[in-house]
C-alpha cells in the first residue's frame, strides 16, 4: 500500500522534477492532437459540401395530358414518398406558361392561342446523409407511374457530384488517418527522447534492486497525466478556435461548424492517454533490462 502510493506520488513528482521534458511531451501531444481534432471536425463537416451540391440537382418529370389536378397531386405524393426524394414541386400548366415566358421572353398564349405546355414536377433529391446517392432507382420508380410522360435528368451530373464528393471525403479521411499516424509517431518520438534523457536514472534504479514494474510504474502515471493534460489542452484550444471561428464564418457565409464539444474532448483525451501511456511503456522498456 505504501509502495503503491509512493509510486503514484513518484509519477506526479516526476512531472515537476523533469519540467522541460514534461512540458515538451504535453506540448507535442497538444499540438498533434489539435490537428487530429481539427480533422475530425473537418470530416464531420464535409457532408455540408455534398448537401450543397445535391441541393442543386433536380429531376424533371413531365406529366401526360388529361389528368385531373387531384390525380396529379396524388402522383406527386407518391413521388414524394420514394426513397431518396427530398421534396417535390408541382409545376402546373399555368406555371409552365410563366416559365416559358421567362425563358423565351414571349407569351405562349399569344403565340399559339392555347397552352400546349405539359404540367410537370421538379423532384429534389435527398441532400443529407453521407451514403452515395443512387439516381437510377428513383428514375425507375418514376417511370412506373401511369401519369408520367417523360423524365429529364442529367445522369452524368449527379454521378459526377457524388464522385467529387467521394474523392473529397476520401482525401479528408486519408488526411485524418495520416495525421493520426503522424501524431502517434511524433508523440512517441518525443516520449522516446524524454525517457532517453533519463536512461541513467533507470539504470541506477535497477542497480539498487528496483523491479521492472517499480521502475516503470511512475512512468505510466506520468504518461497518463501527460496524455490527459495535453489532449485536454487541445480540446480546449479547438473549442475556442471553433467557437470563435463560427461567429466569424457565420457572419460571412452563414455556415456553422457542427460539433459536440463533449464527444470531441472525450475522443481526444482517449487518443491522447492511449498514445502517451503506451509510448511511455514502450520507451521505458528499452532501458529496462
Amino acid at each position: 500500500m505504501d509502495k503503491f502510493s509512493f509510486l503514484i506520488a513518484e509519477g506526479f513528482k516526476n512531472i515537476f522534477r523533469h519540467k522541460l521534458t514534461s512540458s515538451a511531451t504535453i506540448f507535442s501531444i497538444f499540438l498533434t492532437l489539435s490537428i487530429v481534432g481539427f480533422l475530425i471536425l473537418a470530416n464531420q463537416n464535409t457532408n455540408k459540401i455534398i448537401e450543397y451540391l445535391r441541393a442543386k440537382y433536380k429531376i424533371e418529370v413531365f406529366f401526360k395530358e388529361g389528368f385531373t389536378d387531384d390525380e396529379l397531386n396524388n402522383a406527386i405524393n407518391q413521388i414524394g414518398s420514394i426513397k431518396g426524394v427530398r421534396s417535390t414541386t408541382l409545376i402546373s400548366k399555368k406555371d409552365a406558361e410563366k416559365i416559358f415566358k421567362s425563358q423565351f421572353g414571349e407569351d405562349i398564349f399569344d403565340l399559339v392561342g392555347f397552352n400546349p405546355l405539359p404540367a410537370s414536377c421538379v423532384v429534389n433529391v435527398e441532400k443529407d446523409g453521407i451514403e452515395k446517392l443512387e439516381i437510377m432507382p428513383i428514375i425507375k420508380r418514376l417511370e412506373m407511374l401511369p401519369v408520367v410522360d417523360e423524365i429529364k435528368y442529367q445522369s452524368g451530373l449527379i454521378s459526377r457530384i457524388e464522385s467529387y464528393y467521394e474523392r473529397f471525403s476520401q482525401i479528408a479521411i486519408l488526411c485524418f488517418i495520416l495525421s493520426l499516424a503522424i501524431s502517434i509517431f511524433v508523440i512517441s518520438n518525443t516520449i522516446r527522447l524524454t525517457i532517453f534523457s533519463r536512461k541513467n536514472l533507470i539504470v541506477s534504479f535497477q542497480l539498487i534492486g528496483a523491479t521492472r514494474s517499480f521502475v516503470r510504474f511512475p512512468f505510466i502515471v506520468e504518461g497518463l497525466f501527460h496524455g490527459f493534460f495535453g489532449s485536454m489542452l487541445s480540446a480546449i484550444a479547438l473549442y475556442f478556435l471553433i467557437d470563435y471561428g463560427n461567429t466569424v464564418i457565420d457572419d460571412i457565409i452563414s455556415f456553422k461548424i457542427n460539433f459536440d464539444p463533449y464527444l470531441l474532448s472525450a475522443t481526444l483525451i482517449f487518443i491522447g492517454i492511449m498514445i502517451s501511456t503506451i509510448g511511455s511503456i514502450r520507451a521505458t522498456s528499452k532501458y529496462i533490462k
Partner: protein, 216 residues
C-alpha cells in the same frame, strides 16, 4: 555467502578479470586492494551481477550467475548494498529522497522510512544537507550519501567500491569504524580500496587484485 568459481570476464576492448576463485563467508570483512585498472570494479560488478561471467560461475546469497534471469536480479540486489565508485546518485531528487529510495523499493512504511533515513543521515554527518540535490553536495558528501543509501536497508552484503576516495583521513577512518560495526552485527563486507594505510593492521582479510587476477 559469495563464491567465485574460476570466473573470467573480458571486455571487448580488453581488460577485465581472469580465472578468479574467491570465497567470502558470511559476516566476513574483506578488503580488496590493487592498482588502478586492475579489475576491482569489474569484480564487484560481477558479484552484483551487473555483468555475468563469460567463464565460470558465481554464487551470491543462493543466487547463481549461470542461467541468471533479469527478472531475478532485483531479488538479489535487494539484499546487497552497493557503494558505487562514481556514486550514481539520482540527480533529480534530493539527498533525503536518494537515501530513502532503497526502502521504498522494499515497501517500507512511510513513517519508518523517515525515521531510518534521518538516523542514517545523522550518522554520516549529512543532517544539514537533507534538501540538497546531488550537484549541491561536495565530492565527499556525495560519497557518504552513496554509503548511506547502500546501508539504509541493512543489507546482508555490502559491496563498497573505493568509498573513501573523496574523504579526508578522519572521515575515512570513521567510515571504516561504521563498517566494522555493521560487520559485527552480521553484514558481510567486501570493500575495494587503494588506501592501504587505512586498512592495514585492522585484522581483516585482504585480497590483492593484479591485472585481473587474485594474488594471495
Amino acid at each position: 555467502m559469495i563464491h567465485l568459481d574460476n570466473v573470467s570476464y573480458t571486455f571487448k576492448k580488453g581488460g577485465g578479470v581472469t580465472n578468479v576463485n574467491l570465497d567470502i563467508n558470511e559476516s566476513e570483512f574483506v578488503f580488496m586492494i590493487g592498482p588502478t585498472g586492475s579489475g576491482k570494479t569489474t569484480m564487484l560488478r560481477l558479484i552484483y551481477m551487473d555483468i555475468l561471467p563469460q567463464v565460470g560461475n558465481i554464487v551470491v546469497n543462493k543466487f547463481t550467475s549461470s542461467g541468471m534471469k533479469p527478472k531475478k536480479l532485483p531479488k538479489l540486489r535487494q539484499k546487497i548494498g552497493m557503494v558505487f565508485q562514481n556514486y550514481l546518485l539520482m540527480n533529480d531528487r534530493d539527498l533525503f529522497e536518494n537515501v530513502a529510495l532503497p526502502l521504498h523499493v522494499l515497501g517500507f512504511p512511510k513513517r519508518q522510512i523517515t525515521e531510518l533515513v534521518e538516523k542514517s543521515l545523522d550518522e554520516f554527518g549529512l543532517s544539514n544537507k537533507v534538501n540538497h540535490y546531488p550537484h549541491e553536495l561536495s565530492g565527499g558528501e556525495q560519497q557518504r550519501a552513496c554509503v548511506a543509501r547502500a546501508m539504509i536497508k541493512d543489507p546482508d552484503i555490502l559491496l563498497a567500491d573505493e568509498p573513501t576516495g573523496n574523504l579526508d583521513p578522519v572521515t575515512s577512518f570513521e567510515l571504516i569504524k561504521i563498517f566494522e560495526k555493521i560487520n559485527k552485527a552480521g553484514t558481510t563486507i567486501l570493500m575495494a580500496s587503494h588506501n592501504y594505510n587505512l586498512i592495514k593492521g585492522r585484522g581483516h582479510r585482504i585480497i590483492e587484485i593484479q591485472n585481473g587476477s587474485v594474488r594471495s
